[in-house]
Symmetry: C2
Subunit: 200 residues, 2 copies
């Protein structure tokens, strides 16, 4: 799996052999995949069905994405790649913007359908999965926020572990029925992350 199938990469004018790729087709396939995920769920969102509904032939789809899973990740988590938080050094404020954007990018029918399906698929794999959606572009921004507020952050804390808590808490907030139903303010989550991080 390479970064070549990311939406932003697809629209970059890098010289390739043959005809230039049509970004309109990428967008059409991604939108169709999102539609299907939300309507028929993960298992029924096959390349065949995506092809049927979008009118894009399977070989053209596979030229753009190496696998069905890579396409589903790109389609369901396109919002994740759009998160751009510029750290200001105000830990609570920056984390608030980050956590809100992170949750918002996952809280849509396509992502909610894709997440359990992908988790199940990856758990069954013996090789470590790509699971790009959980990391790429988002994790570095989390680190950048902590770096910008370094004087407020406990230097002994393992930021990877803290990111796992952020990830797990957001998954619970959007996926676990009882947590979702309570609709607690996201500020509570932010406050908890600050408590974990802060220098004492």
């Amino acid at each position: 799996v390479t970064g070549a199938s990311f939406p932003e990469a697809a629209t970059t004018a890098t010289p390739t052999r043959g005809r230039p790729r049509d970004p309109g087709i990428d967008a059409l396939v991604l939108a169709t995949t999102r539609e299907l995920l939300g309507e028929v769920g993960f298992a029924a969102t096959t390349v065949q069905e995506i092809s049927r509904r979008s009118g894009v032939h399977p070989p053209a789809i596979y030229r753009r994405w190496p696998s069905r899973l890579a396409l589903i990740e790109d389609a369901a988590f396109s919002g994740l790649t759009e998160i751009r938080i510029r750290p200001t050094g105000d830990l609570r404020r920056d984390l608030g913007r980050f956590v809100r954007a992170y949750e918002r990018s996952l809280d849509n029918p396509a992502a909610l359908a894709a997440i359990p399906g992908l988790l199940t698929t990856y758990l069954g794999d013996t090789a470590p999965p790509p699971a790009r959606w959980l990391h790429l572009s988002v994790r570095p921004q989390f680190y950048a926020i902590l770096d910008a507020a370094a004087e407020a952050v406990d230097p002994d804390i393992d930021v990877d572990d803290v990111f796992d808590v952020v990830q797990g808490t957001i998954l619970a907030r959007i996926m676990v029925p009882a947590v979702r139903a309570r609709r607690r303010r996201i500020e509570t989550t932010v406050e908890f992350i600050v408590r974990i991080l802060e220098r004492r």
Copy 2:
């Protein structure tokens, strides 16, 4: 949904009409359901298939569990109902025992297969789901641990919200491939929960 289908309830000698229930059949159905979940996954673990493999007829299964989902919850999360942490007042130590037991009870093939399937099913429901597995017997023990260590715990903290973080972090630790692969020590999670809770 009542508590009647819980394993401990099933073996309680409450007077019922007709023949007394055979706890051996309950155990057989539960074990078969666990087996199937681990082998063929959530979607293929149907009452028909459980019946075929266990030799227990569907009506006998439905006499014991109101629905396929209730049976899957009981089978996959039986370990959860066995958690019995007696609080000592030592917050870090009690939480450590609790979080370890909680994670261990979910980190098995049956539960790992059931969790994404149940989450997907419940997300599609309009009525609030039972989702007993996420609460019953476990949540009260978490509160009891905090109560026993009340002088160490910030009185302004919302313990429901903290439990959601515990839940989400454990889900991420067992389900999310990258987090699972790193196999971080559970003590780190415990330390983070203590940091959130502690009076300052």
